[in-house]
Each structure stands twice: as C-alpha cells, then as structure tokens.
C-alpha cells in the first residue's frame, strides 16, 4: 500500500464516518428521549437518497404517497382520540399539524417533481418530505404504545422497519440509484487529491451537528427534549408533553436520516434495502461512544468509517465481519474497567 492509496482510503473512511456519526446521533437522541431503539433509521437514509434520485428523473417519488397515506391515518387517529375523550377544542390544531400540513407538503412535492428544479432545491424538497415522515411515523406506530416496555417498542421498531423496507421496494424498485455529485471540484495538497465532495460532506455534517448543539443548548424545545431524556416523569410534571417530545425527536431523527441519505447518494449506490446496514454502522459508532456521549459517538463513527475503508482494501469479503467484530474488544474493555452493574429499568 502506498501513501497515496492510504490517503485515499482515509478520505473515504472519514467521509463515510461523518455520515455514520449523523446516524449515531439520531439513534442516541431517539433512544434517550423515547426509549425506542430506532431501527427504521436506515429506511430514512434510503428514502432520502431514492427520493432525490426520483426527483432527478422528474418523477414524483413514492414517499409522496406514503406521506399522504400516513397523514390520513394519523388524522383518523386524532379524530378517534378526540371523540373518545370528548375533547374537541384541540383537534383543529392537531389536524393542521398531522393532516393538513403533510398533505400540503405531499401535494407541493408532487407538483414540483416534473419541473426539473436545480439540485439544491430538489435537496430541500427531499429533506422536507422525508423529515415530515418522522413525526407521522411516531404518531401512528409508537405514540399509542409510548408507555410500553423497551422490548415492545423495539419490536414495533422492527415491524416498522419491515413495513418501510417493503414499501421502499414498491416505491423505488429493486435497482439501486446514485445521485449526481454536488461538486466536481478537486483539490491537491502535495501528492494527495482531496475531492470537493468529501469536504462538502464533512462540512455539512459539522454544520448540522453545530446547529443541533445550538438547538439543544439554546432553545426551549431543545431544552425540553434534554429534560425528557434525563427524567421522563419529571419532564411531564413540568408540562412537557411526551407526545410532543416524541414527535419532535422523530422529526430530528428523520432529518438526520434524510440528510445522511442525501450525502451518501453520490458516494455509493443505494438500494431499497441498504439502509439497515448503514444505520447499524452508526449504531456501532454510538456503542463505542457508550451510547451516552455525543462527541465520543462521533469519534466512534469515524473509527468505523476508517476501519471499513481499510478493511475493504485488504479483505473486502470480510469487511462487514471486521467492522462488526470491532464491537467485541470495545465491550470487553468496558466490561473489564466497569465493576458495578446498577439497577436497570
């Protein structure tokens, strides 16, 4: 292996690692706030890439139909809940959020699809429509079970993953898609070639992470989410609605997923079922960080990306084995340095 190959692999690794870091962030966030292990996060990634690819072709993406369908189900659920509780005055606001707004988004994207808009606008449309799926998924699948055990929530996650996977095949077909690169620029630093694409991925990941940092540190909603993550009952007692916290969290997670999907599209061909493995690598990164610290989770994700790119060079058949076995020494180290196991939920 020459230095330039190593540099190339490192560049690949860091680029992928940045994407895994976003997913790791989404997983940690969803788990701490709602106790849901967010297995469908991978589908948000594939939906992101494939929606953008469909828009590129000037076709309305299948996610439009899904959004409209979920909005109708959520609207029906809100009406049913209002009728049962005889509590009508909150209904218009909820219908506006869960039914009207998503329908408007779906219609807007449907109408804009054939216009062959410039790439940045298509990216914005993609982010909007996939992000809108998040709160609706929470409302329809998880909210009725919000108080259930972690295990039941996990099984619901798996079921949602299955359903979204099958729908992905229906919407986008079995062929994979690649989206065009954001930029063709390359830079030369000595002997090393750095692609503008990699820099863009890194930069935008950093900006997104920075924006989230500000959101959690400076805004009332961000603080409400942090409070819910620390103490669910306490947050409820001071008036933070669990369903609001859940919807908001799923919105952020969906945004992170869609964003990752848009970033990964030009790097690798994405199939309807690629999301699961991609998000699992985010998971591995999050575990290396101990599932609690965001910076450590990001560092872990970078490590996963690097390990993946170097092992695909040396032993490509065993790439996945190497990446996923990495967890074992990390856990071993943690178990030998931690002595007390405390009360679990």
């Amino acid at each position: 292996m020459t230095f330039s190959i190593a540099a190339l692999l490192a560049q690949d690794g860091v680029t992928n690692g940045a994407i895994y870091a976003l997913l790791a962030l989404a997983l940690v966030l969803v788990f701490t706030v709602t106790r849901v292990i967010f297995i469908p996060s991978g589908e948000f990634v594939t939906y992101g890439t494939l929606t953008l690819a469909a828009l590129q072709l000037g076709k309305p993406p299948g996610t439009v139909g899904l959004l409209a369908g979920l909005a109708l189900v959520a609207g029906a659920m809100e009406c049913y809940a209002a009728a049962r509780r005889r509590d009508w005055w909150r209904l218009p606001r909820r219908l506006a959020l869960y039914l009207i707004l998503p329908l408007l988004i779906a219609f807007g994207v449907y109408a804009a699809a054939p216009l062959s808009l410039p790439l940045p606008l298509q990216i914005v449309l993609t982010l909007i429509i996939v992000t809108a799926l998040g709160p609706l998924l929470y409302r329809v699948a998880y909210q009725p079970l919000a108080e259930a055990s972690v295990l039941v929530l996990l099984i619901v996650s798996v079921a949602a993953h299955f359903a979204m996977l099958g729908l992905g095949l229906w919407f986008f077909g079995a062929e994979g898609s690649r989206t065009p690169p954001f930029t063709d620029a390359t830079f030369h630093v000595g002997d090393i070639t750095v692609s503008g694409q990699s820099i863009l991925v890194l930069l935008s990941s950093l900006i997104l992470i920075g924006a989230l940092y500000l959101f959690f540190g400076r805004t009332l909603y961000g603080k409400a989410l942090r409070a819910t993550a620390l103490n669910r009952v306490g947050a409820r007692l001071v008036g933070i609605s669990p369903s609001l916290a859940g919807s908001l969290t799923f919105m952020l997670a969906a945004l992170l997923g869609a964003f990752s999907g848009v970033l990964i599209g030009p790097i690798t061909t994405v199939y309807y079922d690629s999301g699961f493995l991609i998000s699992l690598k985010g998971f591995v990164g999050a575990i290396i960080g101990g599932l609690s610290s965001y910076p450590l989770a990001a560092a872990g994700s970078l490590l996963v990306g690097l390990l993946e790119s170097f092992s695909s060079f040396w032993a490509s058949a065993f790439k996945e084995v190497i990446v996923f076995t990495l967890i074992i020494p990390v856990l071993l180290w943690r178990s030998l340095t931690t002595h007390h196991h405390e009360e679990e939920e």
Binding site: I37, A148, F162, A163, L165, L280, L291, F324, L332, T338
Partner: protein, 585 residues
C-alpha cells in the same frame, strides 16, 4: 381432572396424530413451528422473564447447524449425535464469552453485542470456502435413532416435537424453582435479588447460555432435517424474527413461545400464498402487511397473545404447602460484638453523607439508628449492606471486613435487609416473594431445577417461606399476588422475606412506616420475640414511640455525624438531641 390437564391432553393427542392425518405440506409447517418454538423458548426465559434482549439467537442456530453439517460431511465416521455435543460445547464457549463481556454491565449492551455477533457470523459463514460460502453445504446425512433411519419429514416430526415439548417442560420447571425465582427478579428487582445473595451477573450469563443451547439444538435438528445449510436462515433478520415470535406470542410465559412461533409461521405462509392473489401482482407486499399487522397487534395487546388465550382456561389453583423437614439453620453465636463500624465515611462528590461514624452492635440486641431527615441514616444502612461502597473506614462483621464485597457476598455472611422503598416483585405471589429470601439456604442450580431434581429442597424452602409468612401474620395472603396487598402489608412481607434468609443480623429500613397503630404493636412484639431467639437487629426508624419502646440502645445521627448514643431513656433527655429534633428553644 382439571380443565388445564384436559387441554394439555388434547394438545398432546393432536400433536401425536397430526403427522398421520395432515397432508405433507402441513407436516413441514409443523416441523418448522417446532424448530422455531425451541429457539423462542430460550428467548422467553432470557428476554421475556429476565429482560435481556438478544438478536443473536439465529446465529446460535447457525452454529449448531454448521457444526454438524461440517463434521458430518468431513468426518462421516462421527455420529451426528456426537456432533450435537460438539455443537453444544462450541455454543457454550461462545455464549459464555459474549455473556461475560456484556451481561455484567448496566445498559443495553447485550442486544448490541448480539447484533454485531449475528452479522459477523452470517458474513463469516458466507465467505468461508470450507463452509461452502453463500451456496452452503449440501448432502448432510439424515439422523438415525437406535438403528432406525429418520428418512422423511413425518419421522422427523416426532423427534422435533419430543425435543420441543421436553424444552418447554424443562423451561417451565426452571421458572418454578429456586433459580427461577431469582431469574424472575432480575427484571426490575436486581438490587433486591443481590441483597438476598443472588449473583445476578453470573445468573444472567447462565440463562444466556441456556437460551443459546436451545437455539443450537434447534439448528442441529434443522441441518439434518433439511440436509442442506446456507447462511440465509441464520442472519440478523431471522434473529429479529425469533424475538418477534416470543414477544407476539407472549414473552412472559413458556406457552407464548409456541403460540408465537405458530402464529408468525402461519401468518407468513398465508401472506405469501394469498397476498399476490388478492393484490393481483407480485412484490414484497407480504413484508409490508406483516409489519403493519404486528404493529396493530401490539397496540391492541402489548403482552402478546398468550395472556389473552390463557383467560379461556380456568385459573390454576395453588398447590397446598406440604409439611416438610425444616431447612438447616445457621448457628448464631451467643455473646460478644457482631458488627463493628469504625470511622465510616461516605462522600458523594462534595457532599459528605456519612462522616467518621463509629458504633458497634452486640449479639442479640436491637439497636435503633435515628436522626432527622437527611441525617445519613439510609446511607449508613446501605454501607453495611454493601449496596454502597465505603469512602473510608472499616466495617467488620463477625471479625471479617466487608470492604470490597458485593451485596450478594455480604448476604452470604448472614445479613438480611428490608428496603425503605418496598422492593418486591408485584407479579409473583407473596409465597414466591418470601421464598426468594431463602435463596442462600438452597443450592439447586439451573440444571437440577430444569430436570425437577430439586423437589425435596423446594418443598423445604416453600414450607419455610409459609412458616415465616404465618409468623408475621399474613397467612391468609399466602397465595395472593403481591401487587394486591396494601403498602403496609408489603412492608411486612419484606420482613418475612428477610427472616426466610435465616440471618444473624437483620437490617430494617423504616419498617413501621405506613403501618396502623395495632400493626405497629404486632411488629414490635414480633421483633422482641426475634431478639429473644438471639437475632440481632439494626433499625432505622422515624416513629419515636415505636423506637423508644422497642430498642435496647440508640445511635443518633445528624448531618452525617454521630450526635449521641446510649439507652433510649438517656437519649430522650439529651439536650443536643432535643435541639437537633426540635430546633433551638
């Protein structure tokens, strides 16, 4: 004959005649249901009861299947039955290792480690030439049983279902035993279980290995039934599906595993057969419908299908407690000091909760530890029981230092405790809750319990538990579900549980809180009679009347420090104590 016995007989009869009466297609389906049930049973124990989630069961199935496939093809001289044992040994080693690194820690490490392990093994199977890569290994011999070759699916059916029913029997036995009570306490009662001597980390590893072995046996059967293996059925998706079966069936009961395996297998088959006809087109719609149906099902019945089915059968009446020889008792010394606390200190960050506290307990006395709220009484209590480690100082029990010992090791020395906030298992009966207190007086392990070799010891344990329940005056609640008792009664159950452990030293954390006047008097009488039998008692309490009338000596704490110690009468007149309680006058 009870309705349950009739239902069981009907089930067994149906299972016996099914392969003769049913068309071959159904026999195949039933074979798969049997194989899946065996794996899900392990998950009921591990996930449903003990609360530890594993995604890696399919990988253990694969380990069993590939071990026998590889050995049968390359070393045909070895009997496939011997391969089963080799597979079991291999699986145990892997499960022990994975359990060791994940289960001793707090948090969700097991699900994550098993995801990683499942994926790695899947790709390893798929990429190793000697295991046939992604195409797999074909031509695995079938099994023979005492010279009879199991040639077709009907023959296999009986073997599979015999093993499935045997696993169900063993798992059910296990849950209804000494280790079973401890396993049931792992979810939500870890700290309590450890206070009664359960080595929780070790127990979790043992049941993880148990579940892995069931999966391995299922894989061994699968390889010889199919006579062909490839990596697909051992991937992470199948691992997730096993969890599905257990949860949808009802992960709290062994029957949930069978119900779940049946339901999911049939549903997937139906969807595959009829959905394309209904929709008039091919596609992957069955997985969509399957996912949506599962979400709907869990939203309607989140404990799975079995509890809902079980309501159709009449409640099983509890077995009467048989007379039995008593459990051996600990010998208690007669005089001298039992517990010596010397310079104890506990610091939480900048807060010193217990500061340089020294006192001693003599055998056969009742010592009261009192003080205003926030004085550090409960912290001191937790230092003695080992729930918190000391920052400095020493605690000696019968001349041995307790420093560095885990709570379950301290329990072994002969210290039993109650909890300020009641820690009982609400879904278990009062009897089972109290019997858990006698955990250290038995020795039956998982294997003995599963094979029902523990019945003599179990009868002795239950008789002891019943005797203690009677002693504290809760005889009429023997078989009640614990959750149905009032809080005051639950506190008394805690005392009965501590007594079942036959302690030298009884630690009581606010036992009189929530009791009515008469109940308090009964409790005081009980504690006095225990002292007369030679028990030593340390009491943390707020109720002054209760403490003054009962204790031999008092230690008063305030702001983590010793304020005074002496006889109750002296303490009542001590001006420093009066000021701490009533404020300066």
């Amino acid at each position: 004959m009870s309705a349950r016995a009739v239902a069981l007989l009907v089930l067994v009869a149906a299972l016996l005649i099914a392969p003769v009466a049913a068309p071959p297609f159904w026999v195949t389906l039933l074979n798969y249901i049997g194989l899946y049930s065996i794996v899900s049973l392990g998950l009921v124990l591990l996930t449903g009861v003990a609360g530890q989630t594993s995604f890696g069961q399919a990988a253990f199935v694969g380990l069993g299947a590939y071990t026998t496939a590889y050995l049968s093809l390359n070393y045909p001289a070895i009997s496939p039955w011997l391969n089963l044992f080799i597979g079991v040994a291999l699986t145990s080693v892997v499960a022990l290792f994975l359990g060791f690194i994940t289960l001793r820690m707090k948090g969700h490490y097991l699900p994550l480690a098993t995801i990683a392990w499942g994926i790695s093994l899947f790709y390893t199977f798929g990429n190793l030439e000697i295991l046939g890569g992604h195409t797999g290994l074909a031509g695995i011999p079938s099994l023979s049983f005492f010279g009879i070759e199991l040639r077709n699916e009907r023959h296999f059916y009986y073997l599979i279902w015999t093993i499935a029913m045997a696993s169900l029997w063993a798992t059910r036995n296990l849950l209804d035993s000494r280790p079973g009570r401890a396993v049931r306490a792992l979810k939500g009662g870890l700290e309590m279980a450890e206070a009664f001597g359960v080595d929780a980390g070790r127990l979790k590893i043992v049941i993880f290995v148990y579940a892995a072995l069931l999966a391995c046996i299922s894989g061994w059967l699968y390889a010889h039934l199919q006579r062909f293996v490839n990596p697909t059925p051992f991937g992470i998706n199948q691992g997730i599906e096993y969890l599905f079966m257990a949860v949808v069936g009802g992960a709290g009961s062994v029957w949930g595993a069978v119900v779940g395996a049946t339901l999911i297998t049939l549903l997937k088959q139906l969807l595959q057969d009829y959905l394309p006809v209904l929709l008039g087109r091919d596609g992957n719609f069955e997985v969509v419908v399957f996912g949506i149906l599962m979400i709907l099902l869990l939203q309607r019945t989140r404990d799975g299908v079995w509890p809902w089915l079980a309501r159709l059968f009449p409640q099983q009446r509890p077995r009467p407690i048989a007379k039995s020889t008593p459990l051996p008792r600990r010998s208690r010394g007669v005089a001298g000091r039992l517990l010596v606390v010397e310079g104890a200190r506990k610091q939480f960050g900048g807060l010193v909760a217990v500061n340089n506290l020294s006192f001693a307990l003599s055998r056969g006395e009742i010592l009261g530890l009192i003080g205003p709220n926030g004085a550090g009484k409960s912290t001191m209590f937790n230092l003695i029981s080992g729930a918190l480690p000391l920052s400095a100082g020493t605690i000696e029990f019968e001349g041995r230092s307790t420093a560095g010992r885990q709570p379950f090791e301290i329990a072994r020395l002969g210290i039993c405790r109650t909890f300020q906030h009641v820690k009982l298992i609400p879904t278990m009966s009062v009897l089972d809750n109290v019997a858990l207190g006698a955990y250290l007086r038995g020795s039956s392990g998982v294997a003995r319990a599963a094979l029902r070799l523990d019945r003599r010891e179990e009868a002795m344990t239950l008789a002891e538990a019943a005797a203690q329940i009677e002693r504290v005056g809760l005889r009429e609640h023997l078989h009640s579900a614990l959750g149905s008792l009032a809080l005051g009664k639950q506190r008394i159950v805690e005392i009965a549980r501590a007594l079942a452990g036959d302690p030298c030293l009884l630690l009581l954390d606010e036992p009189a809180a929530g009791l009515r006047y008469l109940e308090k008097q009964e409790l005081a009488a009980l504690l006095r009679s225990l002292r007369n039998e030679g028990m030593t008692i340390l009491l943390v309490e707020h109720d002054m009347d209760f403490v003054m009338g009962l204790t031999d000596r008092l230690v008063v704490m305030d702001f983590g420090q010793m304020l005074a110690q002496g006889l109750p009468g002296e303490i009542q007149k001590n001006p420093v104590v009066l000021e701490a309680y009533l404020g300066g006058v």
